[in-house]
Symmetry: C2
Subunit: 423 residues, 2 copies
Amino acid sequence: MALIVHKYGGTSMGSTERIRNVAKRVAKWHRAGHQMVVVPSAMSGETNRLLGLAKELSPATHSTALARELDLIAATGEQVSVGLLAIALQAEGIDAVSYAGWQVPIATDSAFTKARIQSIDDVRVRADLEAGRVVIITGFQGIDPEGNVTTLGRGGSDTSAVAVAAAMKAAECLIYTDVDGVYTTDPRIVPEARRLSTISFEEMLEMASLGSKVLQIRSVEFAGKYRVPLRVLSSFTDWDIDINEEARSGTLITFEEDEKMEQAVVSGIAFNRDEAKVSVMGVPDKPGIAFQILGPVADANIDVDVIIQNVSHDGRTDFSFTVHRNDYARAMDLLKNTVAPACGASSVVGDPKICKVSIVGIGMRSHVGVASRMFRSLSEEGINIQMISTSEIKTSVVIDEKYMELAVRALHKAFDLDQPAEA
Amino acid sequence: MALIVHKYGGTSMGSTERIRNVAKRVAKWHRAGHQMVVVPSAMSGETNRLLGLAKELSPATHSTALARELDLIAATGEQVSVGLLAIALQAEGIDAVSYAGWQVPIATDSAFTKARIQSIDDVRVRADLEAGRVVIITGFQGIDPEGNVTTLGRGGSDTSAVAVAAAMKAAECLIYTDVDGVYTTDPRIVPEARRLSTISFEEMLEMASLGSKVLQIRSVEFAGKYRVPLRVLSSFTDWDIDINEEARSGTLITFEEDEKMEQAVVSGIAFNRDEAKVSVMGVPDKPGIAFQILGPVADANIDVDVIIQNVSHDGRTDFSFTVHRNDYARAMDLLKNTVAPACGASSVVGDPKICKVSIVGIGMRSHVGVASRMFRSLSEEGINIQMISTSEIKTSVVIDEKYMELAVRALHKAFDLDQPAEA
């Protein structure tokens, strides 16, 4: 018997029929002797419907007063979900009780629409568990020190579930979703993509931030910080499959490096085509130049991802970085009209039609030649590399976006990701 | 400058366009210098939608655990309304803040789905008003001593508004609804029916309980207990009509009898066709007989309205009462098979096709001959009276339901209700 947290996404909660299936699955776990805490999202489409109503009434300004009201409105979606799930469990003959975030309470700061969880009081929940009840808690929300309802931002229910699991020292947090785990890459691009039975926390962070949108990245950070064993699995299996089989399905996100020692060097191929590349050419190579260029960019609220500064020639260097494609025009404008003249650059060039492809793997740390194998594979396909960026567990290249699928497929094959890891 | 409470029903809040109109109306009152507290209902249809989802998931049992969840779910309808109205007011340039019942807090008992308000803490609301904000509070709900969300039952938003007005000693509580006031009788039956500019609290209670469904009866009781000046008026006038004209429109429910002294004896004609008549005939006339008959009826959860016991003949009497028509079959069954044999009655007869018509008026107390005028009017129309019941401010008759419209029209004319009261 263990304390287990289940999290169900909006699609899994999308109709009363699906909620009934979630209840049957939770009831199965409860009957197997586990203490169950469940964190469901709002029924799919509900949060958009609610915020759509608000948008009809509000001009395009963003005030704290408005954000406070948006949170009070949006939080109702999950409040309905938890009540419905409790009723469905009661209909299964299971004693169940639901709480809104403020009732637990889940304490957050006052950053409306993007609040951060500060603490979770588990006294009430634990008393219910001891009394044999299934406890259902709203995802996505909490209460600030002034008693206002706050929300954690889109996808916040993952974070809520992990935070609850951390606060209650749960044995495992199971994130039920519409995919059956984390894959070596997107199966829509590489049909041979394989589900990973485990992935390290650091790899998952890289995979998530690079576009594998299985889990909200904040929830992975949270799980890493508090070492919450996290499993991503499908809510579309039959609810009555064998519980031991279910408990081993999906992908487990781990914190023990040992487990990975003998496994593949590269765990997956991530990619992202939401970026654009900008280069400031012929910049005088002197201290402070990076800040001179990136300071105004940051001031304009433009997020920067890959940053490359080449070695200099004749006291001048080229400085390149990538930004979100939506910020491309603004970034180019700023660099051409303000930054380049100020720092004496010779020119500014850019390209919005690029993509970033990364190999991710904790094994890279202890294996040489991984990057060169990547470059050779791309070279064999005739793909020109425009930028390279490396870290402990990933190597990213920026290439022409038209080669993205080709690059992902080539790398997936080059690192034997289509072969079972245990082979 | 005064503290004013506005209450808007679900129809008035039925779309973002209508919410915008509510905001403009409230803004007008705020700009005229009033401190404004607004209590809106859920958008029309929303409470039914939410409870419909719950019903799909739940079998037909009624447990406290289920009721608790139903309240958590149903309360979200008003929570969305208050947030949207706050946003609409902000869009009008008015500083506005909204609160769910638990945030005020509005303290209730733990009778889920039919909770009673116990106290309202006005500290937070008053601070907002002093800071120049419009405060919007969810109707229909509160929080119990254990921190659970409770609802007050259908129509509870009227009660919430009156309770807030009482707690804050508001100058007036304005109930905006889809009718423009209280009428002398239903205009669908008597086209000459007139809107009353004032009605006494006691008369309003009788009119409400007898089927004039303008206000929830609990809210009227609450207003009477705390002497909250209450006005029923239309939310379908243009929002920008002159505020002084608006402040005098609708019907004011008063507590000062003096005002009524010079006015009409009878204020209105109420009617109800939801009842059925049952009679226990030839009952031995001895002490305890009423309890012997009505005790089992009450035990069966059957509500009784009019009760008549005729004088006895030869030591035997006839005992008649009315029940809700939905309870008629159960009541007849109980009386025939259990009660009548036990108390030695000669027979049980009943009639579901009756109606009750009442004249209501505080003036009746000091005017003789009102009842006889009523009976004469009905007699002139050839309407047979089956039962008569009188109280201080009303006289009710039970008649064949087919004569209901005729009786209402005749009485409306007999008491000159189609003539302006000040004529």
